[in-house]
Subunit: 363 residues, 4 copies
């Protein structure tokens, strides 16, 4: 299925950074779901490069919903969102066309597409495409919210600085979803941004860790083999640019625990099963257990940097040096946050619609 994800509710991405337009088609969302263009704009603003810790490329992302929505409500048929491109300065990339940027998709894409790929501005691999993903995701986030499912992500770590931990999921998530630089601690945010600027000043870049919490998914969702909840979410989440790892609940730290410590004991609380800890991240045997779904994404440093690097010229077949020009981000962790939320929402909407039926959102 390639650039499409989902069985019951699917999303398909298209577009290149410097092409005519980018966009997404979402298919399978129930009819009668409210589509709030203000919320889409809000989400897009969280992704948009802003201030002095982002690329100088200014995008307005004036999206247009060309199908599937009438009078602000879904019709039930495919929703196509188109975002025209503008402010593209391809010349920045012209002389880099045959010099693959280390750890960027350039070389792998060249091998896959035999040189026919659109190399301008990263083409189909550009972070720019995530604007369409965020617009689509906004519809999914909003729809899930109406079923009591909320998603929130904070920058758990960035440029060497740790954020505070979640203390009250509902309240923390509400606060995070209003922030452009989404941390739970203001001090951490300031220090992270200071460090990002320091790296940027040296022509360098930094990475970080995002931590996502999902509230409100009932126990019993996911499959035992292959279509496990972790497997399906991971499948989708590796499309968040620069993600190189994912862990659920205790994740890699579980390796250093014993079972008596890592296991999550159960108890009854007001007649409901509760867990005394959540090292499982809300998932056991591939299936939700009703606790908060928790996962973390490792985001590598932005590969495009100003510092000179070794690379090759795939045309002359000679070694070369590359100092990236063009507008690029010294850090994309904070911008990747809303992409992670969007992908999570789209994947969950698919899994839940598969379980509860296509009209589930409006029942």
């Amino acid at each position: 299925m390639k650039n499409t994800f989902g069985n019951s509710v699917s999303v398909t991405l298209f577009g290149e950074s410097h092409g005519e337009a980018i966009g997404a088609v979402i298919d399978g969302i129930a009819p009668g779901v409210k589509v709030d263009e203000d919320f889409i704009n809000h989400q897009l603003s969280l992704r948009r490069p802003t201030g002095n810790i982002s690329t100088a490329r200014k995008e307005q992302d004036p999206f247009k919903i060309v199908s599937g929505v009438v009078s602000g409500v879904t019709t039930g048929t495919p929703i196509c969102i188109v975002i025209p491109n503008s402010d593209t300065r391809s010349s920045d990339y012209a002389d880099m066309a045959f010099l693959p940027r280390p750890s960027h998709a350039d070389y792998a894409a060249y091998c896959k597409y035999h040189g026919f790929e659109d190399r301008r501005g990263g083409g189909h691999f550009s972070g720019r495409i995530t604007a369409a993903l965020v617009a689509a995701g906004a519809i999914a986030i909003d729809a899930l919210k109406q079923k009591g499912i909320v998603i929130g992500t904070h920058i758990k770590k960035c440029a060497g600085i740790e954020d505070a931990a979640f203390s009250d999921y509902q309240r923390d998530i509400a606060a995070l979803n209003e922030k452009f630089f989404a941390t739970l601690s203001e001090e951490a945010a300031e220090q992270m941004q200071k460090n990002i600027k320091a790296a940027a000043a040296e022509g360098d870049s930094v990475g970080g860790i995002l931590e996502t919490a999902v509230l409100g998914v009932d126990a019993g969702v996911g499959e035992p083999w292959f279509d496990t909840m972790e497997g399906v979410l991971s499948h989708a989440l590796f499309s968040v640019p620069a993600v190189k790892g994912i862990e659920f609940g205790g994740g890699f730290a579980l390796c250093d625990m014993r079972g008596s410590k890592s296991n999550d004991p159960l108890c009854y609380e007001n007649g409901n099963v509760k867990f005394l800890s959540n090292n499982s991240g809300g998932i056991n045997g591939g299936i939700t257990n009703g606790d908060t779904i928790i996962f973390r994404l490792a985001i590598k440093p932005t590969p495009t940097i100003g510092i000179e690097q070794n690379t090759v010229n795939i045309q002359t077949k000679e070694d070369e040096k590359l100092s990236a020009r063009g507008r690029h981000d010294p850090c994309i962790v904070h911008r990747a946050r809303v992409v992670a939320d969007s992908v999570t929402a789209l994947a969950l909407l698919d899994i839940l619609s598969l379980r509860y039926g296509t009209d589930w959102l409006v029942k």
Copy 2:
């Protein structure tokens, strides 16, 4: 698709721990591929509980290929492998039937299947099912080998002990694939097993980290969005029991690096593009770059332990204590290794057949 994985080459699992039989159907493997039953037996022996660091359940795994193979060669039609169950002692589990084991699938499965799930011995969630996965995976591993693709996994960490690092992939993988307890350092293996026994003696369990290397996959395989190489592999690999995290290349450690350090520079070596480091784990932008594919899996401690834990009785709706009886493993990291290799091989076979065509294996 639930308990099926793959588009061009697919695998479907069936069976319960204490049912009639378990098995797998593999569909889409090219005709004319040699199926080596000795190699399947070898792989099964690597998964089979052995010695005093495993469950005392003795399984002979006498698999039967009931279709799709004639005279040791694939016909091109679906291959069904059936492994009858035997030596099942359901009574061990009878009194635990309504006491979900903490961090095991029991409670989540109960919520999903409304109590109709087969609870005997973990039912469809039992590690036992992985015998079928390993048998199916053996066919895939063997087939890939004939195309120059080899897969090897070592126990990078277990019970607090670190293994040595890969030094020569080809040679290391060859050695690992003969071992039941697959480490690169013999000392590490001994210390790990000592620690496993120590935990077992206390009725406890331990976890670890598996690290897998895949050699021989050409550059250019994978998709930019959604069906990224990382995404598809992750999707499948969360079916390896107890996996709670996956990272590629530098993984989570990349978060503490700067781009100038994490990026993998390129150069020419004898006319071929090479990378001076492999923090990308052989994948950029979701697409292979021709370098070794590297990933690590976080394996949590076995949830079934002898130590008393808090749980609930889902029938009486009261809090309870549970000390697991039944035969269980104090550690499954070493046994999960061959499952990880199997899943990796099946997923790669699918992705590569999609890219190169269904007869690729025999061209």
Copy 3:
């Protein structure tokens, strides 16, 4: 997905005519659904060659459900049904191995599988495989019945003889589902069988038309493009052996009508929308309209005949004559009936589970 069908509820077939066993895996059926082995046996008996109008191969089809069912009730995990093969007389086919039977799969299979296909008894292409499909379908038919959905098929035409038309769907279907040679008119049945025997006496074979009615599917099921109700049913139904055509409602006869005649007018009857005719076969725009779903399948004459035919020897590359020996049917229309019902039930179960959710059957 090849030999697998369905997204929410899927079925995978495996096996060869003269191999170890044939079988099917059904995945995605809700937990708590009753599985009636007597009904499976009943359905298998309707498919089984019987009397002097069928092949002399006697099969007992002693199926075994090896997973997914405990105490006669589905667990919700994959159901694997295995039917061992017996009474296989491969020698009948030995001397025909390189002489593809005209209009049989032999030559196409040889091209696809490069000679590695199991040619004994038709291998994976044998009608024998449909026993597994019928067993799987029986579970689906039974499950749908409990939701008020019933499926019935009559031999509308066979060996030149027309059957009577449906007059009372509920009553007619109940009667048909008890018959081995399922016609609405007894006279038609007798004449058809007489003609089949006449053809058989000459070493020849005949075909026919099956007509299926499905009652109880609500309006609103199906998709406007691609996953239309007609499209999905057709996709599955071309797996009924020897089917070369399908038409819904008025079908090909609509081509000779004008719209004023072919359109189905609507009216209210006791507050419910009814249609005054059913040329649409219960489907408009790819979506059910609540009326009876009606379709017809064209079944070609059995290709394996005793009469001498021209063919080639793919080994010597010379033209040859072929008079089929082996046991074969002069007509499979009556046996294909229960296969059509089975496929219909499996496809509908998938489509409806996708629409209403995976637990729909037990809600």
Copy 4:
């Protein structure tokens, strides 16, 4: 997957008749394939309502390829084609909004989408959407042609008049593909159009039969069960508006033949296997045999007619009379032709790419 078709090469449709735009996304086409906008325009002109036998709605279909193509060549990433809507006169439909047109999708769509569907001009069910399908199909047709695969369709029957039969496939197809009203006999075309006008004059409509031939597909393509060549093509082809039946090769007429007559004998001709007849329509056992693929589609009369019909008012729940206003076609058989070719090409491109690999088109 709903409004998406295909696994290796997929197409997704979006848009409503009177919305902002319609369009299609094609994903999976190899990089380096020439995209000829003139040919797309040519194909669109064959679908466009023209002359006095079509709706008076004039569409210019000024499509825009917004992604996936650079300098007239595919990049290998998703191709999105957008066709803005214009000349929409929704008022024509306003007073019909709650009066479902008999045998149109109106009522079924209302049941599926609970009244949220876009009813203006047929919304997502409008034949208008096929413009996007034709544009996408044009790319597929062109690509297949470069691999020696050609597709041609003639109006075999319309308004009671039969066309001549194919006599020389290559030449006939070349001629048909230049015609707006695609018959093999000019006399038949004239008589058909005369009859269409006669029906139109009475406010009525007519249907017909399309017959398609596909040359150049090698033997060995398709799967034995479920993903049969007939099954996959049918799945897609029921998306050609108004199709109510499909038959391959001899189709329904085979039912009246005996096997000795319907079987296609084989022989050698210059060292290649040939068939002495083609009642199989180029497919046996679900797999191509190398002969011409032949199928026929039953196209029902256009449901929207001027003649008064019985229907209901779904709002007032009363019976009503309806005489359709708005612009509508008395016949869509001739326009459906190019849609059938487009769908066939897209489905074949998917099946063949699955078999031969994603870069097959450029190898």
